[in-house]
Amino acid sequence: MRRRIDNVTQNAVFLNIPYDQKFRSLYLAYIAGLVHLGFIPRVTLGLPGGARRLDKIFAEIQSCRYSIHDLSRVGLDRNPPRFNMPFELGLAVAWEKCNPSKHAWFIFEERPYRIQKSLSDLNGTDPQIHNGKVSGVLKELSNIFRRPKNQPTVPDMLQTYNAISRRSSKILQEAGASTLFEARVFQELCFEAKVAAESIRLLE
């Protein structure tokens, strides 16, 4: 795993999000926002290779300069509750502690102060609160990632979101998939978001 340490992609963002139909619009918002900000989103969908899943996830976190952990749906509405997301956050926190120049992590939450109860070890860390809204995710992404030049506006990012949201059913159909949370669908959503973000610049 150490071979990945020097191989950090500076504009890659590891997205630790729930693969859940109720999270569909926020999933698209993360893709649209990050791509519009000039990043390459990465997820754990379809990780290649035959290595152990945990090793692959950790290698993916190591290869990304940033990671985003959306803990808004770590609740008890599932049976049993899933601990993957806080666990992956723990991996990212440990990785940053050991290599502060190679990684930075951010937490997104739906409601303020809830994380102080659900994950009190992180007291003192302010999560980004998106209120469960697409515009909230876009706004918070643009708050944490600041480009000195060409910082996109939230309405521009919203246009990219609308473009991929409209295209998503066609992408699903072409991929023969039933959910957006599949590797090929994710790749094509990202690419469509990039096409939409670039075209907005041409249309201006």
């Binding site: 890659a12 000039g38 944490i144 670039e198 249309l203």
Partner: protein, 96 residues
Amino acid sequence: MARAVRVTTPIPTLEEFGENLGLSKARQRNLAPIFIERRPQGFYAVRRRGSERATQVFSTQKEAVEKARELRPNGMILIERVRDTARGSREKWRKL
């Protein structure tokens, strides 16, 4: 106050982005937008992104649009504006 980072890494091009995602070149070509641009001679050229040569040229914009739709039934088609309007000026693009 939550932390923020200053990002100075260059924004990847569409080609770099597609490659990083692991999308094949053929799939990238299929998903990339098509441009309809007016040539100085008055023809309308249908051109794929990243290609300098036109796929085909037509004498009317309507024919070019039909060809572009045939090539990209569901993809993005961008048309060069040929007149100045309240919504945009020449040398800008509009979405079909």
